[in-house]
């Protein structure tokens, strides 16, 4: 490169450096904006995952009314996903500790391992510490709406999903009606009978408890 001999060489060099620095500054500014946008997308995604992991459904609530003469009397109510009450039952069972049995069906399971991304929870039966599960009260009839489990109503399922739910529910119902265990009917499915532990934490009479189902398959009992 040739420069004029009148002392302009220094100015041209400064201008060159200025343009280079300015280009880097503008480029850096634009990249920072892009990085911030990508970062926001990542944060939104992670927050969504966190919310999903903490999400819960409450298909069943119950209240122990009395424990007398070796029997436990309780009222049980079922709800759909929007919180609409579907049915209510009041009954006595022999024993002192109530067991609320839920069936967990895997969704989008990995066929190789039986592992699943999430689970659907169906109220299955009620039994006690003195009454075997096989002799417990089945709950399927309380929310069977023409083959579709109404506790899962209130969400827009695709026809394929609806069919899969109906098919799994129907298989579980048939097994239970024949006096066979419905848990394990679908690969990766299992049962979870949540209950009070008499020596540790008893359900107080007159207090409403809810059965909380987590997306990863865990079931909890919490005070409503």
């Amino acid at each position: 490169m040739k420069f004029r001999a009148d002392g302009k060489k220094g100015n041209s060099r400064s201008l060159g450096w200025f343009i280079i620095i300015l280009s880097f500054a503008i480029g850096g500014y634009l990249m920072a904006g892009d990085a911030a946008r990508l970062q926001r997308i990542q944060i939104t995604y992670l927050e969504g995952l966190q919310t999903r992991l903490r999400s819960e459904t409450v298909p069943l609530k119950f209240m122990v009314e009395s424990r007398e003469g070796g029997e436990i009397k309780a009222k049980i109510k079922l709800y759909d996903l929007s919180g609409r009450e579907l049915s209510s039952m009041e009954k006595s069972w022999p024993g002192s500790a109530l067991y609320i049995d839920m069936l967990l069906f895997p969704v989008r399971g990995d066929k190789a391992t039986g592992d699943a991304d999430s689970y659907l929870a169906f109220p299955y039966r009620v039994f006690t510490d003195k009454l075997s599960a096989a002799s417990g009260s089945l709950l399927f009839d309380s929310y069977d709406s023409g083959g579709f489990p109404e506790i899962l109503a209130g969400l827009s399922w695709s026809p394929k999903e609806e069919k899969a739910i109906e098919s799994a529910f129907s298989a579980a119902r048939k097994k239970a009606a024949a006096g066979l265990p419905a848990a394990g009917e679908v690969k990766g499915s299992f049962g979870s009978a949540v209950h009070e532990v008499s020596t540790l934490s008893s359900f107080e009479e007159g207090i409403v408890y809810k059965v909380v189902c987590r997306v990863k398959g865990g079931v909890e009992i919490m005070e409503d």
């Binding site: 500054a25 850096g28 500014y29 920072a32 904006g33 990085a35 911030a36 970062q39 926001r40 990542q42 944060i43 992670l46 927050e47 995952l49 966190q50 992991l53 903490r54 024993g95 500790a97 067991y99 967990l104 391992t113 039986g114 592992d115 689970y119 039994f127 006690t128 510490d129 003195k130 009454l131 075997s132 599960a133 096989a134 066979l180 265990p181 848990a183 394990g184 009917e185 990766g188 299992f190 049962g191 979870s192 009978a193 949540v194 209950h195 009070e196 532990v197 540790l200 934490s201 909380v212 987590r214 997306v215 990863k216 398959g217 865990g218 079931v219 909890e220 009992i221 919490m222």
Partner: protein, 303 residues
């Protein structure tokens, strides 16, 4: 050092915000123009007043035309001075643009750093929530004549080389129930990693044998700690294994006394959970403690 940087940033942001308000918002521009007009008016008023006093002192008449002429001359003088100061004004504008740019970039860097911190926190939270711990491994040895023969394995995490403690059970039925006391801690404790949900399997029963007639499990060590929650020194991060075991003992005491746990506000839910599955000969499955809450059953590797 951070305090000094913070102070510099505060000044930078104040100048930047003021400049952005004055030059880039309608209200700021109105205020700026109003101030300039007020200053110019005051200057013109002062010049006309001075001229009137001088003219009256000379005994001459100071009419409206003379006043307008004086004001016009002063205005022309002001415009001339403004034109002369143009390079300085341009310099100030350039400096303000630079300050705005630096302040904006600095804010973007701060936001980026805060975003990275948030991502790290969320990732840690997710990792803690997605975690699960093995509670029991069940192997169904035989299913015959309406009875289930199974072997349950409990793992001692304090001594990983030791063979798991096992218990063989034989019970009437088709479906095996593994009953456990479950203690789910508050989400904030789980998310921060300061607590893990606990499950203590204590009984096995079946679809035909009620819980009251089930088989007791023995998976506690001599100190009454469940084997699965014991840890060797290498596996306890941040605290000594003695302190860990002391804290675990406290937790076990908390669990045994429901009221004290609730008073401490650390336990979200405390209840029993009997997870169950149909027993099939040769199959094995594992009961896991989910950190989002509750227990699950997963298939183990075929044997």
């Amino acid at each position: 050092m951070n305090d000094k940087i913070g102070a510099v940033k505060a000044i930078l942001y104040a100048i930047s915000d003021a400049a952005a308000f004055l030059f880039a918002t309608p209200l700021g521009i109105v205020i700026l123009v109003a101030v300039l007009v007020a200053l110019a008016s005051a200057r013109l008023w002062s010049a006309v007043s001075d001229r009137r006093l001088a003219v009256k002192a000379a005994g001459e008449d100071f009419g409206r035309a003379a006043a307008l002429g004086a004001a016009a001359r002063e205005l022309a003088s002001l415009l001339g001075k403004a034109a002369a100061a143009l390079p300085t004004i341009a310099g100030v504008v350039l400096a303000l643009v630079l300050v705005l740019g630096i302040a904006d970039s600095s804010r973007k860097v701060d936001e980026y750093v805060a975003g990275q911190k948030r991502i790290t926190e969320l990732s840690t939270t997710l990792r803690n929530l997605e975690r699960r711990y093995k509670a029991v491994e069940v192997r169904v040895d035989d299913v015959k004549d309406g009875r289930i023969a199974a072997t349950l394995s409990f793992f001692d995490y304090k001594d990983l080389k030791a063979a798991p403690k096992t218990q063989a059970i034989d019970i009437a039925g088709k479906e095996l129930f593994i009953d456990a006391i479950v203690c789910n801690f508050d989400y904030s404790s789980i998310a921060s990693g300061s607590a893990i949900n606990l499950a203590i399997p204590y009984r096995v029963f079946s679809d035909e044998v009620p819980e009251a007639e089930g088989v007791e499990l023995s998976l506690f060590d001599a100190a009454g700690l469940p084997l699965m929650y014991r840890r060797s020194g290498d596996n306890v991060y941040g605290i000594s294994s003695e302190a860990y075991e002391a804290r675990l003992s406290e937790l076990m005491a908390d669990i045994r006394t429901d009221e004290s746990a609730r008073k401490e506000g650390i336990v979200r839910s405390l209840y029993g959970d009997a997870v169950h599955r149909v027993a099939k000969k040769g199959e094995s499955f594992t009961v896991w403690v989910e950190q989002t809450g509750g227990l699950t059953i997963k298939d183990s590797a075929a044997f």
